[in-house]
């Protein structure tokens, strides 16, 4: 054998092993989701009589649980869904706007609170994320009890807005500090005020990262469990709480809970695919 064929063989081997690993991990990612989706189409017996793997071959898919969710149980099941959507989107909008205002101020003007300068204030915002939610939940519970905000949409919106603000400030301040200053300076020379510059120059240039920030804040609010568990009971119940409650009240009714879980997982999956072009370049700025 000549060295050329050996080299080619090695290249094939290398490429082959790369693909083996990539496909194996793809299987690891997909298999649980496959199981979740197929279970929501299984009849009771197909669940109880041990694992059935392939639809049409091992079991006959049925859509009756899905039909039931959208007809008979519409009110009890879809209200938390609406709650999650409303609370998630309003709080994400608030954290994005507050984050934009704060990071614009912090990257364009000079501040000084005692010993804290701009970078320290940004760090102060971001470092709020270190705090475990369990530590603030006791106080918020007592505070909401006095204010009557327990089991209230507004209550959750406020908590999530505060909770996602560090993330929003982190992403947006990084982008704002990278934007070329020359365009803004040119506008300033032409006599535009800071607000005109913000609305007509900065926001249009920043719109991709604003969208990304909004969607990410939405997903975090959508996925939260601990705050919703403690601060809501029925009226403002969100999707994760509904799933957990169904699970503990009805026992192993896997088909129902699977269908609900698919519904709960749907928005994040759609957002992941929508966000894919921001993922690598930009959404997560490394270092500083």
């Amino acid at each position: 054998m000549s060295t050329k064929t050996i080299r080619q063989g090695l290249r094939f081997l290398r490429l082959g092993s790369i693909y083996c690993f990539l496909i194996a991990w793809s299987f690891v990612v997909i298999a649980p989701l496959f199981w979740l989706i197929t279970t929501s189409f299984k009849d009771k017996l197909d669940v109880y009589l041990g694992p059935k793997f392939i639809p049409w071959l091992d079991f006959r898919p049925t859509s009756k649980w899905w039909v039931r969710i959208f007809t008979i149980e519409k009110d009890t099941l879809l209200k938390p869904y609406a709650n999650s959507l409303i609370i998630g989107s309003i709080s994400a909008l608030c954290s994005t706007l507050l984050g934009l205002a704060a990071s614009y101020a912090l990257t364009r003007f000079c501040f000084k609170f005692f010993f804290m300068k701009n970078d320290d204030i940004i760090f102060w915002f971001v470092s709020q994320r270190i705090m475990p939610p369990i530590i603030i939940v006791f106080a918020i519970y007592s505070m909401y009890q006095t204010l009557g905000l327990l089991d209230n949409h507004l209550g959750l919106i406020l908590v999530y807005t505060a909770f996602n603000l560090p993330l929003s400030v982190w992403i947006l301040s990084n982008f704002l500090s990278q934007l070329p200053r020359s365009i803004e300076e040119a506008a300033l020379v032409d006599g535009a005020g800071p607000l005109t510059i913000l609305f007509h120059i900065v926001i249009p240039m920043l719109s991709p990262s604003l969208t990304a920030t909004f969607l990410l804040c939405f997903v975090f609010a959508w996925n939260d469990f601990l705050f919703a568990l403690i601060l809501t009971f029925s009226r403002a119940q969100t999707m994760p709480i509904l799933i957990a409650a169904q699970h503990f009240q009805r026992g192993p009714q896997w088909w129902d809970i699977s269908a609900l879980s698919v519904l709960a997982v749907l928005p994040p999956v759609i957002i992941t695919i929508a966000l894919q072009k921001y993922f690598i370049k930009g959404l997560i700025p490394i270092g500083k």
């Binding site: 649980p32 475990p132 006791f138 994760p240 490394i286």
Partner: protein
């Protein structure tokens, strides 16, 4: 423009922090529907340090953090460096690999609960067909903790992958070309050129993931509920159980604070590591 952001953080993070601090040194008494806090000194801390259940929760949390974060780093690094070589279809794999990270943890926990079920789960079914005895993935006290780690790794490896991939992309191409000109092989290039340049992103990824992993609660709540016994009860779950199941708010606050200290120490460790690394580079 800064004021609304600062106000909301003060109201929802700093004020609650001080409130919890106050609870920690007190005792909550409910009288005539009102909540009163009586000063109790260090009683809560004394109780905490002697509580077997607390030390168990510390150990459980630390085990999960150390094993899960390390595994996530290794897997994330492998995936990132494989996709960095741009094999055909890498765009597709990249999106697919990110998906688990953004899924609702409750749905993830529930899905894995079905998969790991002893009687009706697919893994149990396959083991049975292979003639092996079933494993109580979530019911055996020796195994349950590792099942939790497995679920956490499934969900959060994407995060490590994403950060490390971004770190790899940020490495200037001429460094790698220079190494190639000097005759470095693929492995040597990886160990002597890429890994040192990747150190800042590695530390950042470790830091962020460690902070988040310390707070683990939802997956445990759904899959094992902290059991069997207290084999998988993390600190957040312990704090929740004490604070909102038995309504001992003061003791719950003490538990929460001990978690906060641990996270703070971990965060400081990684920050100092970054600083010292920067120092080395400047020399």
């Amino acid at each position: 423009m800064l004021t609304p952001g600062v106000l909301i953080v003060l109201l929802f993070s700093i004020f609650p922090l001080f409130f919890t601090l106050m609870l920690m040194f007190g005792q909550v008494i409910f009288s005539e529907g009102k909540m009163l806090i009586k000063f109790a000194g260090l009683a809560n801390w004394q109780r905490l340090l002697q509580d077997q259940r607390f030390w168990n929760a510390v150990l459980v949390t630390l085990k999960i953090v150390v094993i899960a974060v390390t595994a996530e780093y290794v897997l994330g690094l492998i995936l990132a460096s494989l996709l960095y070589q741009r094999p055909f279809g890498s765009g597709f794999f990249r999106v697919l690999y990110v998906i688990p990270m953004l899924l609702t943890p409750i749905a993830v926990g529930y899905t894995w609960r079905m998969i790991l079920d002893v009687g009706r789960g697919p893994i149990a079914g396959l083991l049975k067909r292979a003639g092996l005895s079933p494993v109580g993935w979530l019911t055996d006290p020796h195994v349950a903790l590792y099942s939790i780690v497995l679920i956490d790794v499934w969900q959060w490896t994407p995060f490590m992958f994403l950060l490390l991939y971004a770190g790899l992309e940020a490495i200037p191409k001429d460094y790698l070309e220079a190494a190639e000109v000097d005759g470095a092989s693929g492995w040597k290039k990886f160990i002597y050129v890429i890994m040192p340049l990747l150190a800042p992103s590695s530390i950042a990824a470790f830091l962020l993931r460690t902070i988040e992993c310390f707070k683990i609660v939802d997956i445990i709540y759904i899959t094992t509920g902290g059991g069997p016994g207290q084999a998988t009860e993390s600190l957040t779950l312990f704090g929740y159980n004490v604070g909102f199941r038995t309504f001992d708010l003061a003791y719950g606050a003490t538990i929460a604070f001990s978690l906060f200290f641990m996270v703070l120490i971990a965060a400081m460790f990684f920050t100092i590591l970054t600083r010292s690394l920067r120092g080395i580079r400047l020399e």
